[in-house]
């Protein structure tokens, strides 16, 4: 019975090709948009989760309270601050980042402005930084004690025509804020163009060039027996007292790494969610369109409905016929929507990768595909529900006479 029902529905949709096509198109557009947006949203979430997993969850970040890009805040942490926190029970390791925007010059090429960081050369502290920033030496060596006018550069300096026309190699001389600096190594790719264009100095090098010794960020590793969130609260309280600040008026924030990532991800996911909502509006329009198509189709087939009823079709059968037809419009739109969505998302992913935004890599979990198909089917079938009910309740005598 199902086979016949499907065959009958398909032949009816085929008979009204253009109208069916337009209905399918309307739902296809919505599903394509949703599929693309959600796959990117999922990709970002996956990227961030993988990132967080690599970093572990035992880390805390302390930042100036003012909101703004690194290097622009007025509030800084001092070495004294760091030593104070280091003594708090439960803090296993602590290190600070110095950071300032600076000018990088290589040979006679046009200079570049980027974030210059000053990092600790203590081995344990350096490891903490590497874990948080997910950086690893790719070429040459890391900074070590005694390095002053020596730098490690981000991955993008290794690529010709990216920052400078020629790639820089280990041993080359560059200038940072007009001071000659020797390149000793390169970090591997992080995945976003900002991080991959940074330059790293030792504390001594940073002080030499920028004449500053305050810290932009402080990273803390909780001792293995500590709950990171509780430790964050404890540090916040102690450091507040140390700075003579009232509760709620601190000029710094401290977050576990998880919290920090959540804050970051939630902003992106909210934007993504808003876009998905807009796409949902197009699905609503598609649903109205399908309902309209079905009403027209029922009007045209009133006599046919009368015939079927007169030879024994129950109301339920008529109801099924039209719901299935509407559902078919939906699922066909869904299948092509997912297909186009996949192609567009893949293409978008490649484009993003080309521009070094490897964070924007779409991810296609199986539930997204199944979900989009089911959603398309139920949108179609649901829009067909009212028209189908109307059709099934037609009086056979009137329906037979209808012309």
């Amino acid at each position: 019975m199902i086979t016949e029902l499907l065959k009958y529905s398909v032949s009816n949709l085929w008979k009204r090709k253009l109208r069916s096509f337009l209905s399918i198109l309307s739902i296809l557009i919505g599903i394509t948009a949703i599929f693309v947006l959600v796959s990117f949203g999922q990709g970002i979430e996956k990227f961030v989760n993988d990132f967080a997993q690599k970093q572990g969850i035992d880390k805390l970040m302390m930042m100036p309270g003012g909101f703004g890009p690194p290097g622009t805040s007025n509030i800084k942490f001092t070495e004294e601050d760091i030593n104070f926190i280091r003594k708090i029970n439960g803090v296993d390791e602590i290190t600070g980042w110095m950071g300032k925007n600076g000018k990088v010059k290589f040979k006679d090429y046009k200079e570049k402005y980027t974030l210059i960081l000053g990092l600790s050369t203590d081995r344990e502290e350096a490891r903490l930084v590497e874990e948080i920033a997910t950086i690893e030496i790719e070429k040459g060596r890391n900074l070590k004690d005694g390095d002053v006018l020596k730098a490690v550069l981000g991955h993008n300096y290794l690529i010709p025509n990216k920052l400078f026309k020629k790639a820089i190699s280990v041993g080359d001389k560059i200038e940072i804020n007009d001071m000659p600096v020797e390149v000793v190594g390169f970090y591997g790719e992080v995945g976003n163009p900002q991080d991959d264009s940074q330059a790293y100095l030792s504390y001594d090098g940073f002080k030499e060039i920028f004449k500053e010794d305050t810290f932009e960020y402080v990273a803390i590793r909780a001792a293995p027996d500590q709950n990171p969130a509780q430790l964050a609260d404890k540090i916040k309280e102690r450091f507040r007292e140390h700075r003579n600040q009232k509760k709620g008026e601190e000029d710094f924030t401290i977050q576990t790494f998880e919290q920090a990532i959540e804050t970051f991800t939630s902003v992106i996911l909210i934007i993504n969610g808003v876009l998905v909502l807009i796409a949902l509006i197009s699905i609503v329009v598609a649903a109205v369109n399908i309902a309209n198509t079905m009403y027209t189709s029922i009007l045209e087939r009133t006599q046919e409905i009368g015939i079927m009823k007169s030879i024994g079709a129950r109301n339920r059968f008529i109801l099924f016929v039209f719901i299935i037809e509407a559902g078919l419009l939906g699922i066909i739109g869904g299948i092509f929507g997912v297909l186009f969505g996949y192609i567009i998302a893949k293409f978008g992913g490649f484009t993003a990768a080309y521009f070094d935004l490897s964070m924007l890599r779409p991810y296609f979990p199986w539930w997204l595909i199944i979900g989009c198909l089911a959603f398309a089917f139920f949108t179609g079938a649901g829009s067909g529900l009212l028209p189908a009910r109307q059709a099934s309740k037609l009086n056979p005598v009137d329906a037979l006479r209808y012309e």
């Binding site: 016949e4 007169s310 024994g312 129950r314 037979l400």
Partner: protein
């Protein structure tokens, strides 16, 4: 010995409301139709023929009175129950053939069997047999639009017989056929009446058609005014 009663109408009234005005289409019809009978219900247009056919065919229920189909009063059944009874016990043949144009001849004949949940193999077998019976075994996979009027009406006979109904109800069956096809059609109908013992009711205004029946009920203004026996 008298044969079993297939259909009995007892004081059947049908009153349509046109706004404030009540129009009585049937006014106290009493009628008994027995097994194997070939009955014509004849009358001019406006006599209540179509309403009567709707009543006998369980397409509609009377305003007043009772209709017994195999001793079951159908006057108060729901539309879905009526549909089930129609599908099983009554085979319709319409003036406009009323085939479904998107389906082939074979599929059209199979359709009533789908509504009775018959198995697919059984449906195909039975439908092919019936189409062979009406000389259309070479047209199984043609759509109605590819068939002549006479052929379409014969597909309609096959469809009417699909669920082995007790009654075949034909409404002006030759109205859209030329006289040759009309005669051929009536011969088929008579054949089914004689050889297979089907009860046949024809609603018509055409004397030629009515002349094939054993009994003619003359209808005027919603009343049976005369019964003519043909033998």
């Amino acid at each position: 010995m008298k044969k079993n009663i297939v259909i009995k109408l007892e004081n059947v009234w049908k009153i349509y409301k046109m706004g404030e005005v009540k129009v009585p289409a049937l006014q106290g019809i009493n009628l008994i139709i027995r097994e194997d009978e070939f009955v014509a219900i004849m009358g001019p247009s406006g006599s209540g023929k179509s309403t009567m056919m709707n009543m006998i065919g369980c397409l509609d229920v009377p305003t007043r009175g009772a209709i017994y189909l195999d001793n079951q009063n159908i006057a108060h059944l729901s539309e879905s129950d009526l549909a089930q009874i129609r599908g099983k016990r009554i085979g319709f043949i319409f003036q406009q053939f009323n085939l479904i144009n998107t389906l082939t001849a074979l599929e059209n004949v199979m359709l009533p069997m789908i509504f009775q949940n018959k198995q697919r193999e059984e449906r195909i077998k039975k439908a092919s047999e019936l189409l062979e019976l009406v000389d259309l075994s070479d047209r199984l996979h043609h759509k109605p639009t590819e068939l002549s009027g006479g052929q379409q009406q014969r597909v309609a006979i096959a469809r009417a017989l699909a669920n082995d109904p007790e009654v075949i109800l034909a409404d002006e069956p030759t109205g859209n056929l030329d006289s040759k096809s009309g005669h051929k059609f009536m011969d088929f109908l008579k054949d089914f009446n004689r050889k297979q013992g089907k009860t046949i009711i024809v609603v018509t205004h055409d004397k030629m058609v009515a002349s094939h029946a054993q009994r003619i009920e003359l209808l005027r203004d919603g009343r049976i005014i005369r019964t003519i026996k043909n033998h």
